[in-house]
Amino acid sequence: MLIPRILTIIFGVAGLLTMMLIGWAAWRHRNPPAQEETDSNQSLQNFGPAATDRWLRGLRVLFISLIIAVFGFHSYWVFWADSGEEFRRAKLLDARNRRLSESGLKGWVLDRTGKFENALIRYRSDAGIITREYPLGEAALHLTGYSDYVFGAGGMERAFSDWLTDAVSTYNELTSPIPVGKDLKVSIDSRLQREAYNLIQATGKPAAAVVLLLPGNEVLAMASTPSFEPRSIRDESAWLRMSEQAENAPAVSPLVNRALGTFVTGGAAFYYRPGSTFKAFVAAVALDSQITSERFTCRADGFTPRGSGRAIRDFGGAVHGTIGLEEAVRVSCNQYFAQLGLKLGRDRLEAYARRLGFLTSPDGKISRSETFWHILHGDQKEYNFIFAPPAARMNLSSKATDYDIALQAIGQGFDDFTVMAMAVLAATIAGADGSYVLPTFETGAERKIAGPFISAQAAAQLREMMRAVVERGTASSAFARLGGQITAGGKTGTADRVVPVYDREGKRVVDHVDENGQTYYKTQNSTDSWFIGFAPADEPQIAFAVMVEDGGEGSRTAAPIAARLIQKAASLGYVISRGGPGARGQAAVGIR
């Protein structure tokens, strides 16, 4: 609001000038005119009232120094207080926050259709009372985040807060006490997002699903369960319980965005094992290195890498015999890929892992991938605080044994990945040129290529193999529902993780305490169900990754969800098979 502000500056400056004028006069007249020495008697001089004058001047110096100190403190609070941690924390509790948040109008967040009814965040008026609304509610919580004057903001509300509070026009900035923020259009399709959430939520387990739109790797949907209604954080005690749980038992916390492995409040949470879906990576490396003619044998007693006593077996003790790469992808043969991984070797795997930004010799702590996203709007730092996933990592250092490498080649062992990273892997394979494109929430932005991963030819070969998985392999039954209308390619995964057991209050269950007082907690095996892939198979337009914690085999839980996601995406016009009916609308009708 310009005018009162200008008036105030006039007021302040003119007041200051007037006082400086008077102050100058006060300085000129600081001493009364010297009187003639009426009394030259020294002793009287020492004793008389005039002798106090020096001390009175001292008093004046004292006052002026105090006033300067006061001014110094005022300057401190204006300029430097912000650097204090305590002060910044106190700022979160500032009563002004509530007034600002209740009277401001931040920008709306629209989905890629740009329609208000599909908006992710908008304002609603109930009989003149205006409230900020999250129409998708818990279905998009991990995307939209939340906003509260006490607990701050998370998700997009925080990542894009700069943009959403930036004045919509100069005129508005000049006339309004709190300017209206700019709207933002993101790449999400809220209908697909809702569908993705409903699908994974129906499993009743913690799960995540990501759909990317090629070729720009724009995020169409990113859902995570469990979730909660963004407005419910107004309930202070519920929120406190939730934050406490997020701190002590992140594995069961709804604050974790399982698609990214981050907290919706900001910060890294945890990783998943990608399981057999990771074989797509190893196969891609083999194809790009043209090591495609290898045949390995899959025996009943498993494959035992050199220098290791333990054998790698196949799921359910399956025996695939001596097979080639194509067949191994189709049946998801562990022993084949373990041997292939060793054949490809540590160095080659490392080189290709680096191309996709995976860490290959990680230290203990989780580091975040600050360059993961293609960011146009929003403050880079805030954005990464919210959305940068923990950097995907393997252990290909010299400390890793052959057994470790063999395990990692089948997506177990030291493989630490996020659902989003696997979706990006699928998108990279699905892309026409096999290059690694940064995912983004921006819509219509130019695709940002981070670098080459594999050759276009290798990518096409791999796509054919993954298509076989869907048509004749592990995922064929799940994809039968598509009825051949839409082709797709993919890879199932079934990953074993050891996870702590939590009681109802979110505390870890104690198994036993040994004689040294060391506490052992109960753990259990979690078999995560995975599916990554793309559709349509010949010229992919979307790529996706689905993960359901403790969902059993990938073909049983994750793959059917992926199939339904493809159906929904097709009905929305994102997947158009070249072989099928040409126009978008007809394609949508076609699969119904």
Binding site: A25, F63, I64, V70, D94, L105, S125, I130
Partner: protein, 549 residues
């Protein structure tokens, strides 16, 4: 030899008249800003009240002309200008605060006012910045955006002419100007001054007894009937009494051994110096105690002018401060009032709650739980620390909000009426500097500080120009009173010093405080006038001119 000094060595009245006009103009600008921002923030500040405030310049100018024309005032006018500036800024800030329905209101009304303000800003923004498509989506049509909610029915302090005629805010400044005139009339008179000096001890005692009686029998939580503090005026009487006694005995107090004056003179003197401290202690008004002690100490040092005693005084002050400072960081301590502990702890640890079982904090913590009807589970440490932090932040709300406001204000301020000083409790009186810092920024604050500096300079200059010890001490004392009180107030707001809860002279909202401040101003001007007259007489003595034949 040629005389270089002028006969009337003072700044010219026309300079100050011009300053008054500028200050008046500034005020008009300020009131326009407040009304303007009020209207877009969901309340309409009363123009009648603004006119009333601006009309107060008429009696101020009347007093100015009365001084110049009727009294043939020859002293220094700077003090008056500085005080008028402070007063104008203070009235403006009070107008801004009291016009805000959220500020005066309590309980439900407060929340209602807050919501109404928030909705108004939103609706105005929607009207002007949302396109038709959005308006249609939200309200069903571009022209169906609801009307801005009416806030004029929310209670504010004063609004209409009727309110003004009934309001003490109209009469207190007039009373203050009358007190100024009366004080001037009394203190310009030599015989009255002489009488005051002669009866210094009696004045002190006569002031103390009824004051003590009122304090003991009629005061509630540091306030007289109906939230007033009529004893503000005793500051003048006590200071006159102290200055009179000091002027009588300072020669004896100078004769020191080991830096200490003879007990025969010192002990009675200490008794007299302690006179005002006792009732203010009983009122737990530590701010006033601090001001009295500080001013008395300053006057004593200035009058006695012994370096050893200055060292002793500095040591004494550091020991007292150091004791409180260290005591405030330890959890336990005895013999000191809880409130002192609290204030010191708040000063050093504003945003760190003390443990809930701390002896001086526990009762407040429990009172908070009771008021909010909370009963945290005693075994759940997390919950307890959460509640404790809440209770603490509620308790230090004023300081915390004030500082955050000053920070928000930045250099040029949020703009008058644009900030949120309504979130700072009692920001019209104790924390008015925080409100100024938030809305007028560092610039406004600096103008205010310079005005206080002018007051200090010109006041001490009057003291320097005085011929006798009594008026010297009076002038220095009243100047110190105003300036020291101002510094303690602002220092408390800015965490330079512990918060004490005294007012900012001339600026804060407060009846007796304003009247007393103007009376002190009158005394200072009277003393200045007296000096100038005495000097003129001395300069105009007939001189023998040798006649050359």
């Amino acid at each position: 030899m040629e005389k270089t000094k002028s006969r009337f060595n003072r700044t010219s009245p026309s300079l100050h008249l011009m300053a008054f006009v500028i200050i008046f103009g500034l005020s008009v600008v300020g009131y326009v800003a407040v009304i303007w921002s009020g209207n877009i923030r969901g309340y309409s500040p009363s123009k009648v009240v603004a006119a009333r405030d601006l009309a107060l310049f008429i009696p101020i100018l009347a007093v100015f002309f009365w001084l110049m024309r009727r009294q043939k005032y020859r002293g220094e006018i700077m003090l008056l200008t500085a005080a008028v500036f402070l007063f104008a800024v203070g009235s403006l800030m009070q107008y801004r605060l009291f016009s805000d329905p959220e500020y005066g209101a309590r309980g439900g009304d407060r929340a209602k006012a807050r919501d109404a303000k928030a909705q108004t800003i939103r609706l105005l923004n929607i009207r002007t910045a949302y396109d038709d498509e959005k308006k249609t989506y939200m309200f069903g049509g571009p022209d169906r955006v609801p009307e801005v909610p009416a806030t004029s029915d929310l209670p504010v302090y004063e609004y209409t002419i009727g309110d003004i005629l009934m309001s003490v805010n109209t009469y207190i400044p007039l009373a203050a100007l009358l007190a100024f005139v009366a004080a001037f009339q009394i203190f310009k008179n030599d015989s009255k001054l002489l009488w005051l000096q002669r009866h210094a001890l009696v004045i002190g005692l006569v002031t103390l007894l009824p004051f003590m009686a009122i304090v003991l029998f009629f005061s509630r939580e540091g306030k007289f009937l109906g939230q007033t503090t009529p004893w503000e005026g005793v500051k003048i009487l006590f200071l006159v009494s102290f200055a009179g006694l000091l002027a009588d005995t300072y020669r004896h107090l100078r004769r020191t051994r080991w830096g200490l004056p003879p007990a025969r003179y010192l002990l009675p003197f200490i008794v007299i110096a302690a006179m005002p401290i006792v009732p203010f202690f009983a009122l737990s008004d530590f701010g006033q105690m601090l001001v009295f002690l500080g001013v008395y100490l300053m006057l004593y040092i200035v009058a006695v002018r012994k370096s050893t005693q200055l060292v002793y005084a500095v040591l004494l002050v550091s020991i007292v401060f150091g004791t409180f400072y260290t005591a405030s960081s330890v959890a336990s301590g005895v013999g000191l009032p809880r409130r002192v502990y609290f204030r010191f702890y708040q000063w050093t640890h504003t945003w760190e709650p003390p443990p809930p079982e701390t002896w001086w904090w526990k009762p407040d913590y429990e009172r908070y739980l009771q008021a909010k009807q909370l009963s945290p589970d005693p075994s759940d440490e997390r919950q307890i620390s959460q509640r404790n932090a809440e209770a603490w932040f509620d308790k230090v709300l004023q300081q915390s909000q004030g500082l955050l406001g000053v920070h928000e204000g930045g250099v040029t301020g949020e703009g008058l009426g644009r900030g949120f000083p309504e979130t700072v409790p009692i920001s019209d009186s104790d924390f008015i500097y925080a409100a100024i810092g938030e809305e007028a920024g560092l610039l406004g604050g600096l103008a205010l500080l310079i005005a206080i500096g002018v007051f200090a300079f010109a006041g001490i200059a009057i003291s320097l120009g005085a011929d006798d010890m009594f008026t010297k001490l009076l002038a220095a004392g009243f100047t110190a009173f105003v300036c020291f009180q101002a510094i303690i107030n602002i220092g408390g707001v800015l965490r330079l010093l512990p918060m004490t809860g005294i007012t900012l002279p001339f600026v804060s909202h407060g009846g007796w405080s304003l009247i007393t401040s103007f009376a002190m101003l009158g005394i200072l001007l009277a003393l200045s006038h007296r000096n100038a007259v005495a000097r003129t007489i001395a300069e105009n003595q007939p001189q023998f001119v040798p006649v050359r034949s």
